[in-house]
Amino acid sequence: MTDSPLRRSLGWYRLPILVVALVTSLLFYVPFLVVVATSWTETSYIIFPPDGFSLQSYSGVLNDWEWMDAFKVSLRVAGLGTVISVALGTLGALALTRLRSRTARSWVRTLFIVPMAIPPVAYAVGLYSVSLRAEALQDNLALLVLGEALLAVPYVFVMVSSGLSQADPALRPVASTLGAAWPMVIWRVDLPMIVGHMLAGAVFAFAVIFDEVVLSVFLTPIGVKTLPLQMLTASQEELSPQLTAASTLVSMLAVALLGGYSLFSNRRAARARRLSRKAATA
């Protein structure tokens, strides 16, 4: 895909733009590469450039119950939170397509995006003071899961909404004219069209919740840590290569899963395009 009109109209200004962008991309690459590099040092403390090459801090992390427990807690919190936020975000996006009045639509849209603007520390303090008043919410992860789900709803809502806006608006009236009740219309018309976007939203929500650290600072019971919280604690103590090894491992896992997912969805999209081309020519 060459974008020659844009390229031509930018003219000689293209060069400084490219230089700025390439220098900026260093802000993304360099810190990450430093994390990866320091994890294979043979020393028991962090040093750059790394001294020798060994995987001892990796086996250290994988055999350390503290790190593995934190990983499992994070998986559980992110899994539950994702389910809740996908359900609510999808309902909201579906409701948006069924509202007629413009003001109602714009308020619903704002309502589902505004959790992005909530400052996590202040929100965590609020949830913490809720837990002080309700015994049942102490010593478990319920409030953490609910809070994280709220923060992740906007991402799902944005993804599913963009899916619904690409869908053919004529299909729904057709289905209801043919006598389908509204639950049937959602089940057979809307959901099949947005399943891919729900999945994308779920992946995004999972990543957001898995990474979020501030809520877990305030809301995890004593002795329980999520992975980012364990990282935060470890980064405030003496820096050990185990910290960077754990960071590298979890990043590699994310890159593998998300990279695999986007390859898969690109291929699906390409197949859908091929099929629709074939249908158009047939």
């Binding site: 000689w12 450039p49 400052p119 303090v125 980012p228």
Partner: protein, 291 residues
Amino acid sequence: MTMEQALAAPATTRRRRPMADGAAAERRWLLWPPLVFFLLTVAGPVVALVQQALSGEGNAFAESLRMEVFVDSVWRTLLLAAVVTVATVVVGTCYAFAIAVGPVWVKALLMGGLLISLWTSVMVRTIGWMLLELPTGALFWVLELLHLRSEPIDFYQSTAAMYPAMIAVMLPFAVLPVLASVIGFDREQLKAATVFGAGPLLTLGAVVLPAIRQAMISGGVLVFVMSLGFYVTPLLLGGPANMTMSGIINGQLNTANRADVGAAMSLLLVGGTVAIYLVADRLFKVSERWG
């Protein structure tokens, strides 16, 4: 009654009514679960915060507004958010343009950087910046290699150390909307501008910028609002001299042991941030851009 009437009459009456009822029921079932969830997860904490703020002897709101550290942190946080917003929007726009017009290898490199930053956690990226900026960290190693400096750098936990990291953390939120609109806007207008002899500067000002302005604003608003809640990155990289509002709130709860003041500050922060977002949303239609 003729055959046609018998067929048509019940059909029309039957279809109209249930559809209207069905639409109302549909909206109810679609909207109520999220609304109830929002009410519980937002109103619950807000009520608890108000109660807690009023639990102390004095007026915790007035007290927090009298505290110099807090007022300082408010200005510092606003300044920080403003600087980060301007920087990310300007640099992010260049980044998006470079992805659109660059050669294939540039495109791949830039997309790769963006994806790394989206897919790795803020914690990991902040740790990377820490290791880069420590007195004998990676930056010092490079400078020493180039014979530019021989004594350890006194850079870590300073204002200057904090900004690049925060810009890097927030940049994807500014790049993504601009990228979508740069890729999406009408190329015919560009061709027309070229045909009529407009140079790059005129085309940029008259065609390109108006087309992507909305996206730049939505990205900027989001970055600004999210920067107001910044906690981890300034904490680890800016040190105690650069406490944001979030850092002060945490201090009130965990060190000063003033839960009422901490709650009052939290309410001020949440209220201020959400109010700024709502005003920006009405002015610039930010949510419409996203949803």
